[in-house]
């Protein structure tokens, strides 16, 4: 005997307690104050649901060459995290690239990832890590116009659950 038939349906309408590390602890909400285990298959069980942080849709964006341009704006409030930057070179020649994490102005004092190095002809530059946006934004500058296109992966902080 169980408290519910379809587990997935039950989760959708069950109060959830948010724990660190993006784990939802699910239980039967009792007396408005406490979670108690489900009766599931004749046994008392709590359920943990592992959730993912919210990611944001992004499309490829050209990296301008005349000056450094913003590739990803700082969030209006709080912070977001960049986990991947993929820059593809659509030309048959190497193209130089600078990336910056800066609040107001991209300079040689706030470069990261690649500092004027070349993205190979028809090649890919990839940066992986956890770069915090806010109040800083992500900037980029290419050595050649219309040659480099960046796809940036942006998500909320790990402890944000939706």
């Amino acid at each position: 005997m169980s408290d519910f038939g379809s587990f997935e349906d039950f989760i959708a309408r069950t109060p959830k307690a948010v724990l660190p590390e993006s784990v939802l602890l699910l239980g039967y909400y009792k007396d408005g104050t406490r979670y108690v285990p489900f009766l599931l298959d004749g046994d008392n069980r709590l359920v943990m649901q592992f959730v993912t942080p919210q990611y944001y849709a992004r499309s490829p964006k050209v990296i301008i060459s005349a000056s450094a341009g913003i590739l990803e704006n700082a969030p209006a409030s709080g912070t977001k995290v960049i986990t991947n930057i993929n820059v593809v070179n659509v030309t048959a020649n190497p193209v130089t690239l600078k990336l910056h994490i800066a609040e107001e102005e991209a300079t040689d004092y706030n470069v990261f990832g690649i500092c004027g190095g070349e993205v190979a002809a028809n090649g890919l530059f990839q940066w992986e890590g956890e770069l915090v946006l806010g109040p800083e934004a992500l900037w980029g500058q290419a050595g050649t116009a219309s040659a480099l296109y960046a796809t940036v992966t942006v998500r909320d902080e790990r402890d944000t659950v939706r």
């Binding site: 709590l46 359920v47 592992f50 993912t52 849709a57 499309s59 490829p60 991947n84 593809v88 990839q126």
Partner: protein, 148 residues
């Protein structure tokens, strides 16, 4: 659904009962102790697609059911080098231009060789389109379900 045995820390009471007393954390009571929990693993997806000499969408996800792209491979089992292009579009139709270039553009893959990429890129109302210079290339997509 997969299941695992987990130990949650808390205040034990009443002998050998498998479920212990609730413990207050940040103003909320949690039942704690040794108990069986069910783990809902995210759904994974993987599939190979043939890349042709014409642009066509291969894989993507609606905004309501997003996926996280984890790995791409372009495999060339033929006897000669071939080039390929990838684009990220907001629709399953259309002819991509360089402004939609995504991870690879006129990238060469040698005979009996492969190109691969690993990382994480959300596909939220986004579709991967591909085109090759000749027949024979295969695109392998590996993606993971994320919350909508």
């Amino acid at each position: 659904m997969s299941r695992l045995i987990a130990r949650l820390l808390g205040r034990r009471f009443d002998g050998d009962k498998s479920v212990d007393a609730a413990v207050k954390v940040d103003g909320t009571y949690y039942t704690a102790g040794k108990m069986q929990v069910a783990e809902l693993r995210k759904r994974y997806y993987s599939a190979p697609y043939i890349i042709t000499t014409s642009w066509a969408y291969k894989y993507g996800a609606q905004a309501a059911s997003p996926m996280l792209l984890r790995r791409l491979e372009v495999l060339n089992p033929t006897a000669g080098a071939l080039t390929f292009q990838l684009a990220l579009m907001t629709a399953t139709t259309g002819t991509p231009t360089t402004s939609k270039a995504f991870l690879a553009w006129d990238t060469s893959v040698g005979a009996a060789d492969l190109w691969s990429w690993e990382g994480e890129i959300p596909l939220i109302g986004r579709w991967i389109h591909a085109k090759a210079s000749g027949s024979g290339l295969v695109l392998l997509v590996v993606a993971e379900e994320i919350d909508a």
